[in-house]
């Protein structure tokens, strides 16, 4: 094997022997023994994995090869995970996959967060519900391959025929004469490693014993004891605290900056004023903020945008629309009309929303002559590395980014600003500097979920089937702000904004058209991207069509489900949610039910909401969700993701809304910006459906049907069709 193969591009979702390489401390295929780790001499076993054919995330993991495991002489197994833990349980789930084929006891496994530069660089970051789908095949093959190598080495060390050996719980075993060697013992005496040829086969499904188990979260005990280190908890010797001036308005630009009295204030270490950057470093955070307030800053405020102006900008038909789905001739078919002659049309709107993770953007940077280390609460460590290197004028090779635990992310923690600020200040102060944004910074200096506008039209035939349907939607940008400037021109539309916008149902004539609105409000990633908004519009409108056709909304969806496997899965999810929620039976007095069904990143979700209106407020009493996310790695973790999506979906459905006033975002803290609290949390039931052998996304898809299920229930209860989030009854 040569390193040349490393640069080959991903082609297929299959792993070949050529994708693996043993990269060890010595020459060739030797294994380095005795790499010190926390005082324990660990043998470092590096299993490399080439990027070609990996089925990895778009773009793939870059060379050099990955290093996944360390096996210690006392038989502990460390798994290095490139994806970050922000609450989604990904460290646990990925470790389960790795442990499965390696055949070790779960208790032997320790999970470590990989830093950049550890051969596990992940340019995609932790996002888009892709962690398990992109790493499932890789981690199984990695585990199986290491196990095979341990077996081969055990055969060499003992002189026993390979065929006589097997493994169990991290031990190589043989019968008569009995043999029992731990993986750690084998590693300690290993002289070399050979990549098996061909690569070992994976276990049959019937023998899986770690994958599919509701194993406890590996990070939980540390979090329960208050010992887990979140980004905000990073402490370095000599660490100082930084604060940076941010524009008070959307279009604000720093016109003039002077130190004022800042340098004379207690604890101040450095005042940094360069171009459009003004920041301070102090011994304590409160001193840093006092010094920041003492700077003399003059801002050019820019235009005093008002909410209504922005809403007008986000309007279907404004600018160039791009057709992203076009089957049959929706235009002609809509004109022809259906059972109700005139097509039904409706407009929907969704507001700006903050990600509102409770841990604000935070990072610590330690800029030294010999290198730069950044500890960050980040979903995109590789991106942080690039931006920090650029800001400092350093080579990327000099910068290491170590992600810590994230106190929530939801897409917003791909932002690199806090890390860059920490790096600039650390460079100036000659000390490690921590940046912890205050809440107003976090709400206003990153990016928001954009406002959206949707115009739907459809006709229904006498048979209760949708004859024609069209979804036209406008949105602020979601993905484009993170892509090279040319991407907008090349793509024409924003795939993030129209995620979930296409009509999945079996309609001969259907069309989806998308507009991107240029806004003064920075917009971007938010859990599920455009999914929540598009699903709200589409699945509310499906309900409108069902009532027009005088069909039960469940029956209407079953009847119009697409042909093929997707339709089967949608029907199964709809029926499961309906059954568990008591659909068709009378709800408790004063309540009604609504249903919605969505398909996203291969995952199908059906939800039923049971709602009442109490004291003029929508009260969601019960939520039932049936989810087909393919193979489930950890059913308890998967259930938790659905439960969390239900709450976050309800939060958007019922209370969340960010607005602009006089050129600034109006809500600068919680309270002014509401999120759902425990009192509004309904009884929930989650059903995980058997979805076949391939895992699919779980972090975002279940958020999709929540808001429309609630809106549809409100309609069933009150006859009011609410077409705007957050939902408010009149």
């Amino acid at each position: 094997m040569s390193n040349k193969a490393i640069s080959e591009q991903p082609k297929r979702r299959r792993i070949s022997r050529r994708q693996f390489l043993i990269a060890a401390g010595g020459v060739g295929a030797a294994l380095a023994v005795g790499v010190p780790m926390v005082g324990v001499p660990f043998a470092r076993l590096k299993l490399a994995q080439f990027i070609e054919n990996t089925g990895g995330p778009p773009g793939g993991f870059k060379a050099p090869p990955m290093a996944w495991f360390e096996i210690s002489p006392d038989n502990r197994v460390r798994v290095f995970i490139p994806k970050v833990e922000m609450g989604q349980g990904i460290h646990t789930a990925l470790a389960q996959i790795a442990a499965e084929e390696l055949d070790v006891r779960w208790e032997q496994i320790e999970v470590r967060q990989a830093a950049t530069g550890q051969n596990l660089d992940d340019p995609v970051g932790t996002s888009a519900s892709n962690s398990i789908t992109s790493l499932y095949a890789i981690l199984r093959q990695v585990g199986a391959t290491v196990r095979a190598m341990l077996l081969a080495e055990a055969a060499r060390q003992t002189g026993r025929p390979l065929a006589d050996l097997t493994t169990r719980d991290g031990v190589v075993l043989a019968a008569g004469p009995a043999l029992s060697l731990t993986y750690g013992e084998i590693v300690s005496k290993a002289q070399g490693w050979k990549l098996p040829d061909p690569l070992p086969k994976l276990k049959p499904d019937s023998e899986l014993r770690t994958i599919g188990q509701p194993l406890p979260r590996v990070d939980l005990r540390a979090k329960v004891l208050g010992q887990a280190v979140f980004g905000i908890d990073v402490r370095l010797p000599g660490m100082a605290h930084g604060a940076v001036a941010h524009p008070p308005t959307l279009e604000g630009k720093l016109k003039r900056a002077g130190p004022g009295q800042a340098r004379t204030l207690p604890g101040v270490i450095a005042v940094v004023i360069e171009d459009d950057f003004a920041g301070v470093v102090a011994e304590r955070r409160d001193q840093a903020y006092a010094a920041l307030a003492a700077l003399e800053l003059e801002w050019e405020p820019g235009r005093a945008w008002q909410q209504a102006e922005l809403e007008a900008l986000v309007t279907v038909g404004r600018g160039n629309g791009v057709t992203i789905q076009d089957e049959g001739d929706a235009g002609a078919a809509l004109k022809a009309g259906g059972v109700n002659r005139q097509p039904i049309t409706a407009e929907y709107r969704t507001p700006f929303a903050y990600q509102a993770h409770l841990e604000p953007q935070t990072a610590v940077a330690d800029v030294r002559a010999d290198g730069v280390t950044v500890y960050a609460s980040t979903q995109a460590a590789v991106r942080v590395r690039g931006h920090v290197a650029k800001a400092l004028g350093r080579d990327e090779k000099d910068v290491v980014v170590q992600p810590a635990f994230l106190g929530g992310g939801f897409g917003h923690k791909v932002l690199t600003t806090a890390a860059v600020e920490a790096a600039r200040l650390s460079k100036a102060a000659g000390r490690p500097v921590q940046i912890v944004w205050n809440r107003a910074d976090d709400f206003t200096q990153g990016f928001l979920r954009p406002m959206t506008h949707h115009v739907l039209a459809g006709t229904v035939g006498a048979d209760g089937r949708i004859a024609a349907m069209e979804h036209r939607q406008a949105s602020g940008a979601v993905a484009l702000p993170f892509l090279p400037a040319i991407a907008g021109a090349v793509l024409g539309s924003d795939f993030g904004a129209w995620r979930g916008a296409m009509i999945p149902y079996n309609v001969a004539d259907k069309r989806t058209v998308a507009w991107v609105a240029k806004l003064p409000v920075p917009t971007g990633w938010w859990r599920g991207l455009g999914l929540l908004a598009n699903a709200f519009a589409l699945e509310s409108f499906m309900d409108e069509l069902a009532y027009a056709a005088k069909l039960d909304p469940l029956e209407f969806r079953l009847r119009n489900a697409p042909a093929g496997p997707l339709g089967e899965r949608m029907r199964a999810a709809l029926n499961a949610a309906a059954k568990a929620s008591g659909w068709g039976s009378a709800p408790p007095a004063g309540r009604a039910r609504g249903i919605a069904c969505t398909a996203d990143v291969g995952t199908v979700v059906a939800a039923v909401a049971e709602v009442a209106v109490e004291a003029g407020q929508i009260r969601v009493h019960r939520m039932t969700a049936a989810v087909d996310a393919g193979r489930i790695i950890n059913p308890d973790g998967a259930t938790a993701q659905v439960q969390g999506n239900i709450i976050m979906g309800l939060s958007s459905a019922l209370v969340e809304e960010a607005t602009v006033k006089d050129g600034s975002l109006a809500a600068l803290n919680f309270g002014a910006y509401r999120i759902l609290t425990m009192a509004a949390a309904p009884q929930t039931e989650v059903i995980l459906l058997d979805g076949g052998p391939e895992p699919r996304g779980m972090g975002e898809p279940p958020i999709a049907p929540i808001a429309p299920a609630v809106a549809n229930a409100v309609y069933a209860l009150t006859g009011q069709r609410l077409r705007r989030l957050p939902l408010r009854v009149g």
Partner: protein, 161 residues
């Protein structure tokens, strides 16, 4: 001034108007209490002061002289041999696998512990009334409610022994 935190006495050289949260985090190295909003709205910074939940981001040092402060780090009991006995609330949060990101959960667990100390058998409505002010953005509310009920059971069993 002297601060009593988790049964230990600390001498803190800090202004009386400094907020307890930052003294805990930045002077004493106790990072279990988190910063979320700085205005007492989200509850991530919750600690117990003489057994009562309080928002440490809005608690000036001058108000806690002579009072017993408990943070998440002080919820479990550590024996002389170093072994750790989880508080029933911590055990219940483990059993129910409550945490997602975990950032708010220190505030959640301390608030639950304070509730159960005065109301060992709370109804669901009483749990919600006590805990509604602690935000959880990951959406673990359903599990928190279950875990507080479970903690009450554990405490009842331990009391019966």
């Amino acid at each position: 001034m002297q601060l009593s935190v988790n049964g230990k006495s600390y001498t803190v050289d800090a202004g009386q108007d400094r907020m307890l949260l930052w003294v805990l985090r930045d002077e004493l190295g106790l990072t279990g209490a988190k910063f979320g909003c700085g205005i007492g709205q989200c509850g991530s910074c919750t600690v117990l002061i003489d057994g009562q939940p309080a928002r440490s981001c809005l608690t000036p040092l001058s108000t806690v002289a002579g009072k017993a402060i408990r943070t998440l780090e002080g919820l479990a009991q550590t024996a002389a041999d170093g072994s750790v006995k989880l508080h029933p609330v911590q055990q219940a949060f483990m059993d129910e696998q409550v945490h997602q990101c975990g950032y708010c959960q220190g505030g959640q667990m301390l608030t639950a512990a304070a509730l159960l100390a005065v109301n060992p058998k709370p109804t669901e409505a009483e749990i919600v009334a006590a805990m509604d002010g602690i935000y959880c953005r990951c959406g673990t509310y359903v599990r928190i409610k279950a875990a507080v009920g479970k903690a009450a059971e554990i405490m009842a069993q331990e009391g019966a022994k």
